[in-house]
């Protein structure tokens, strides 16, 4: 299904096939520069026509609601809004192809919108059905599966090292002082 979606949208995956390791990033400024200098974007890889997205309904009100829900600034210019409308149409068209029904997400109800797409073909194959014995054996084995490489130990992240003023809580937003 994923392949069908990709084929239909003619994604050129060749351009991002080869991974390369860049030079070591040494300073905050270099990180900032790296993150603010995109070299490619997903949208550029999707070759689509107006026909592909003509049935996707996205207007100004939807864009502004999405911006609001995403916590982004809503006061965008008309030009930027047009760009965003087109980008969202493109994304929705792509997802529509992934689901493979030709139906728009927004008009699908709870019962119909449950296609369980997987990135890997073998994921479609269900696991061996779980019995209680298997489940209990899996629980018994859990302590051996704790993986420090996944940060699965106490104080795995030293908040103080990330930002000393945050320790021990992450600060997310300034609010009015009393």
């Amino acid at each position: 299904m994923l392949r069908r979606g990709i084929r239909s949208f003619s994604i050129s995956i060749g351009t991002c096939q080869k991974a390369k390791v860049s030079q070591e990033v040494l300073s905050r400024d270099e990180i900032s520069k790296l993150l603010n200098t995109p070299t490619w974007k997903v949208g550029d890889l999707m070759k689509t026509t107006e026909e592909d997205i003509q049935d996707v309904k996205v207007d100004s009100s939807i864009i502004r609601k999405m911006l609001k829900l995403s916590g982004l600034k809503e006061d965008v210019s008309p030009e930027r809004e047009t760009e965003l409308i087109r980008a969202l149409k493109l994304q929705m068209g792509f997802i529509k192809k992934l689901y493979g029904t030709g139906e728009e997400m927004s008009v699908r109800g709870k019962k119909s919108n449950d296609t369980n797409f997987r990135l890997m073909a073998e994921d479609h194959k269900p696991d061996t059905p779980l019995t209680l014995d298997i489940l209990l054996a899996e629980i018994d084995a859990l302590p051996n599966k704790v993986d420090p490489e996944k940060g699965e130990f106490t104080s795995s992240i030293d908040i103080k090292k990330l930002r000393s003023s945050n320790n021990p809580l992450f600060s997310s937003k300034s609010i009015e002082k009393v």
Partner: protein
């Protein structure tokens, strides 16, 4: 239009009035609940970092818990087992295949940008809970339907620090396993809501699924209310039974007032908050968040064998309702005592053990064990203002003490003294009760003749009479004398550390006072 409606609703608040609350027959109360229940697992839902309560902030977080790129989820089987137990206890049909979905919303306590939940294919559905006379928390006859049970992750916790002017986030709770239990809108009054929720807490605690506390946030409740079929109004994050009851009263009164004034069109589907006195509009349907649900592509289907529902049923302990029926009939407990130990499963286990050890001995009746367990054992902790700790006195030792009193090896007074001593000084626990009676010289005198014992008792009683001569001379007859004799017996018991039975002392005092 939206703004107009909103303004109406901000002004349309309803205060809980001072007059007693009542339901009106012509305004039908219809309520449903959504109950978020934290599962009592060692590890989190999709990672193996440990669950915690009150741990140092952000000390129990894996890379997945805070949504670091590349970290992937894997379902913790502990959470699945507890969710299956809850589903079975709530008489639900377990789905052999259930799936996870992503519910998207952006908020600082949700690091992934979505919550993993089960929207399209939940773990279980179509259950019911029967409320009846054996309920632990009330006597209500009603069946409440369970719409569905879904497994999902909890969020982080926010701290609004107004002093320093920041919102701080503790992600320890992030990815803690929850089940969301959604009832059918079957509640017709407030009592049914209260009894159901208290029973639910007891049931989850008893099945080992959840700690069962509303106060700590282990259980969090959203309520939906509709009056006479008008649009339902949701009230979220109610933190106690009292708050749930008051919010429902306030909202019912608000809706009834509008209906009485023919303003039913002002009742719209919305989410309302409760500030302790009144409900207020938070979000109208038109402004509701579009969660953009989609199947989670990183988590496989939960594929269960068809045998598992029956297997889970077999390992479940008896329900609190079944235990209550037994405690009231076979063990002749009063309902309040039965409820207390059902609410404390470790005490219930202890009680059953004591009963098993003591009641096998002929001649000791259930009410003797009940008296010892509730009044003497638990009562001593209360008198000492101590938290009950059953480890201090194992069940077999309390049983030995009950035997010792029953067989006359120690008087009740001495046994009370010994019990108090054992609770205060648990380091003597390596000795048996028999050894302890000898160690503290609390046993009934057994190595002296009856004549010598009588002589000793006479000496003690005469000494007590001398000490209290002024208070006993004036009243030789009537109730006052009887009262004074009890006082004298108490003094003599203290002098003999309870080793002489009260009836022996009473006889001696009556004899000595009669001679005066």
């Amino acid at each position: 239009m939206i703004i107009f409606r909103r303004s109406l609703h901000y002004s349309g608040v309803c205060q809980s009035s001072g007059s007693p609350f009542k339901l009106y027959p012509n305004y039908k109360f219809k309520c449903g609940l959504e109950i978020h229940t934290q599962l009592k697992t060692k590890y989190k839902l999709f990672s193996l970092s440990e669950t915690s309560f009150n741990a140092d902030p952000n000390s129990k977080i894996s890379y997945f818990d805070i949504g670091l790129p590349g970290a992937q989820p894997k379902l913790n089987p502990e959470a699945l087992l507890l969710a299956l137990k809850a589903a079975s206890a709530l008489n639900c049909q377990i789905s052999l295949q259930s799936k996870f979905d992503r519910k998207h919303y952006f908020y600082r306590d949700q690091p992934l940008g979505y919550q993993v939940t089960q929207y399209y294919h939940p773990l279980a559905a179509n259950g019911h809970v029967e409320l009846n006379k054996f309920d632990v928390n009330g006597d209500v006859s009603k069946v409440i339907g369970i719409e569905q049970i879904q497994i999902e992750q909890d969020t982080g916790k926010l701290h609004y620090d107004k002093f320093d002017g920041v919102i701080q986030v503790d992600y320890n709770r992030s990815n803690t396993p929850l089940i969301e239990v959604i009832t059918k809108p079957d509640f017709e009054n407030l009592l049914q809501v209260e009894v159901f929720l208290k029973n639910y807490q007891t049931l989850m605690r008893h099945m080992g699924v959840c700690s069962g506390n509303l106060e700590t946030g282990a259980i969090r409740v959203d309520v939906n209310l509709s009056v006479n079929g008008f649009p339902r109004v949701e009230m979220k994050n109610l933190a106690s039974h009292g708050e749930i009851q008051e919010a429902l009263k306030s909202e019912y009164s608000r809706q009834v007032s509008l209906l009485k004034e023919n303003k039913g069109d002002q009742i719209v589907q919305e989410t309302r908050g409760f500030d302790g006195k009144q409900t207020y509009s938070q979000r109208l349907k038109e402004n509701s968040v579009d969660y953009r649900y989609m199947p989670d592509s990183e988590l496989p289907v939960i594929n269960l064998d068809k045998s598992i529902a029956e297997e889970i049923r077999r390992i479940l302990p008896r329900t609190p309702t079944q235990i209550m029926a037994e405690l009231l009939s076979t063990y002749q407990l009063e309902k309040k005592y039965a409820k207390y130990i059902i609410d404390h499963p470790e005490l219930l286990k202890y009680y059953y053990k004591v009963c098993e050890l003591v009641l096998q001995d002929q001649g000791i009746k259930t009410n003797v064990v009940n008296n010892w367990f509730f009044h003497e054992f638990l009562g001593t902790f209360t008198k000492l203002d101590m938290k009950v700790n059953i480890v201090i006195l194992p069940a077999h030792k309390l049983s030995e003490l009950i035997f010792a009193v029953s067989s006359g090896d120690i008087s009740l007074t001495s046994a009370r003294l010994l019990l108090k001593q054992l609770i205060l000084e648990p380091n003597t626990s390596d000795k048996s009760i028999k050894e302890l009676i000898e160690f503290y010289e609390l046993g009934a005198p057994s190595d002296i003749s009856a004549t010598d014992l009588d002589k000793a008792v006479t000496e003690v009683c005469e000494a007590v009479l001398l000490e209290s001569a002024s208070s006993t001379k004036s009243d030789k007859k009537g109730k006052k004398v009887a009262h004074k004799i009890k006082f004298l017996i108490g003094m003599a018991m203290r002098k003999t550390q309870g080793r002489i039975k009260p009836d022996v002392l009473q006889k001696k005092f009556e004899e000595l006072i009669g001679k005066q």
